[in-house]
């Protein structure tokens, strides 16, 4: 239930982020026992590179606390969509916070909004939609992969978000978003291989008073066909963009500063080869607080295409 609202202490059943380092965090369920492969109920022990954690011990602990591992320590954090996105098991390709933030902003999602999403995928983006629209809005999320839809539905319930979301197993390109949603949505989001096929359904699902549309596509051709269809159906404010986040690696660097002035003067009288080295390269060291890019940056995530359905467009 740890996704519904900010809370201070870990309760049994919470998903908890075990934070080891920037590159190592894990989402674990705060339950004292688990059932192993043989069907036996055993104590819930979580293994990390810094030793094991007896999960029972973290129940009742304040979020943000340091917890002891058998060979070190870690911190327990309350999960949120950002941390969840970084720790969830990668069932499908997922969209990350920089793109998602732009999606939420451009779709103008705020509490009370009705949002239609396809596909659900790992549910990573759904968590962001849910944070932004609860407690007064609703998310309708669709996936053509039955197991994924079931898993996401289960997860939302477990995370305390079940009241704000309906998960559908449905092929929206062919079948649309169900007639129950006709004219019901403030915003539609598509992450589909052929978004253009679903644009007419998005058109139907959006409110008569208008609404916002977004499609996320890795390839430019998908965006091109999507825009063609959007234009045909009377969407406007059509706009495509890429958001690429760069991290700055901040560290203190120590640099040698060499002196060459002494070379202008003749060498002091010969005092042995050992001394040679020292007079040759007088160096001091200076510290610099520097920032640089990491060696590899995200070069592309996807193209975001946004559009507005203006009000009062006849939908017949």
């Amino acid at each position: 239930m740890s996704f519904l609202k900010p809370k201070t202490h870990i309760e049994q059943g919470d998903v908890v982020i075990l934070y080891l380092s920037v590159n190592s965090m894990h989402a674990i369920e705060a339950v004292p026992t688990i059932v192993n492969k043989k069907g036996e109920t055993i104590a819930h022990i979580f293994q990390t590179p810094y030793g094991s954690l007896k999960v029972q011990n973290i129940i009742g602990v304040e979020y943000g606390s340091r917890v002891e591992l058998s060979k070190g320590w870690a911190h327990v954090l309350q999960p949120n969509p950002e941390l969840w996105t970084q720790t969830l098991p990668h069932r499908t390709q997922i969209i990350y916070t920089p793109d998602i933030s732009m999606i939420l902003h451009q779709l103008e999602v705020r509490p009370g909004a009705v949002v239609v999403e396809s596909g659900t995928g790992s549910g990573s983006l759904s968590h962001y939609f849910l944070r932004a629209l609860k407690p007064t809005g609703h998310l309708h999320t669709f996936d053509f992969h039955e197991a994924r839809a079931d898993q996401a539905r289960e997860e939302f319930k477990q995370h305390g978000l079940g009241d704000f979301v309906t998960v559908y197993h449905r092929d929206v390109c062919n079948l649309g978003f169900t007639s129950a949603l006709d004219g019901a949505a403030d915003a539609v989001f598509l992450d589909l291989p052929a978004p253009d096929l679903a644009v007419p359904h998005a058109f139907k699902a959006l409110k008569l008073s208008g609404g916002r549309f977004c499609s996320f596509s890795p390839c430019i051709e998908q965006s091109q066909r999507c825009i063609e269809m959007l234009t045909k159906l009377g969407f406007n404010e059509i706009c495509s963009m890429e958001v690429l986040q760069q991290e700055s690696v901040i560290k203190t660097r120590t640099l040698p500063i060499i002196d060459l002035e002494f070379l202008k003067e003749p060498k002091p009288a010969d005092n042995g080869t050992n001394d040679e080295n020292k007079t040759k390269e007088p160096k001091e060291l200076k510290k610099y607080l520097t920032s640089s890019n990491p060696q590899v940056l995200p070069g592309h995530t996807g193209f975001l295409t946004f559009a507005t359905l203006p009000p009062n467009i006849p939908k017949a």
Binding site: L4, K5, P6, T8, Y19, V22, M25, E62, Y63, G64, S65, R66, H75, V76, L77, Q78, N80, P81, E82, T97, P98, I100, S101, M102, L104, H105, Q106, E108, R110, P111, G112, Y128, R131, A132, K134, P135, T136, G210, I220, S223, Q224, I227, C239, S240, M241, E242, V243, L244, Q245, Q246, E247, S248, I250, T252, L289, S291, F303, T305, P310, P311
Partner: protein, 432 residues
Amino acid sequence: MIQLGDYIVIQRQKYTKLQKFGSLDATATLGKEHIELKSLLDQPYDSTFKMCVKETKSGKRGAQRQHSLELCSENELRSIRDVLGISSSGADNRDIRDNGEAQALKSEDIEQLREACNESSKIIEKLVENSKTFHTRTEYSQDKYLLKKEKKYFEFVQIRQPTIRLMVDIFHRQDAEKIMGIRVDTLSQIISYSGVSGFGSYLLYESGTNGLLPAAMLNSMGANTEATLVHMHPGNVPQKQALLALKLPLEQQQRCISVNLYSVLREYYQGDKAEPVTETAEQPVEQEEPVEPLSEEGSDPIEPSSKKVKLDESTNSHKKSAQLRWQLENKRASELMQQKFDSLVMAAKEHPSNILQALLPLVKPSRPIVIFSTCKELLQETYMELKTSGKVTNLHVTSNWLRTYQILPNRTHPEVNMTGNSGYLLTGYTLK
């Protein structure tokens, strides 16, 4: 429905402007065109209006035209290309010489034409008729020409209701400095990383963004929710234009408590000792405006401004109650500070370090902090300080590239210009 007192967004093609529809006499200025807003009253938002020339005065910078607005129907808005029925175009530009003599009409002719006929499509038709090179240009080149002319003579405006999305575009385009250079991608990420939503209690310090940051946070907190925001600022009066423009319900507005940084910290540290109620008349600098009927003018965060004085005069009769009000706001804020916050957002023109040191203890453990700055060097220092302190973990300094694309058949490419600075964000999570 468009109401008197509303802020409205006026859109003419891709140009947008935020404007207060303060009275029936109000006019808006779009370049050389002045438009009367009167006829907007009680019309639905998103309507399109036609600009009709009423009179032309010759001003300093050429003709100044006064227009009235007429509500018009969607199908008046047809593509200029369709209207003109242009068909023949050259294969390439090999025979074109740019010698400035392509247009036979003189500028006086065009001015006259403009007064005589109200429709941009007719003006452009005349321009095309009188161009010696138009029909030998490539289709691409023709389109470019038409778009340019259409932009100049386009006679329709749309009136839209301000949203955070529309306002950040307007503010950033018009004067990015006034919103501390916060770009759309950065704003969107501040909202994500801070986790601001319908539940929780949030703390914001900003030294002036035209109200954009508190407005964006309040917008994400939503109507009829339990979320609260304490909005600290360094000046006499909080900048609130964007907040007012959103026209949020009163209950939502009241959940944003705007207080002066110094004044509220003194209240928090010292409580009643700090500000005996009898002292009310002598608090010029720390005085706070009440929440609702606010000036949209932001004061300079450094020096007490002269506007301050004007405000004092205008609210003279309410002085006593107003002064009580800022003290009440300080008390409300101070109570929330005692309970601590669910996240901290900072956008300071000053060095963030000392402010962060004062505000960080007010944040619960396991909560996000988001610090914005246009100056990476400052965040580098703050990053190192936080890292050394051990009070905040998962520290990251990030910035963004934002590339917009032109996607058109056979003419797809990233836009030729991009804005250079997203600003930088330092993010992390507090520890116990």
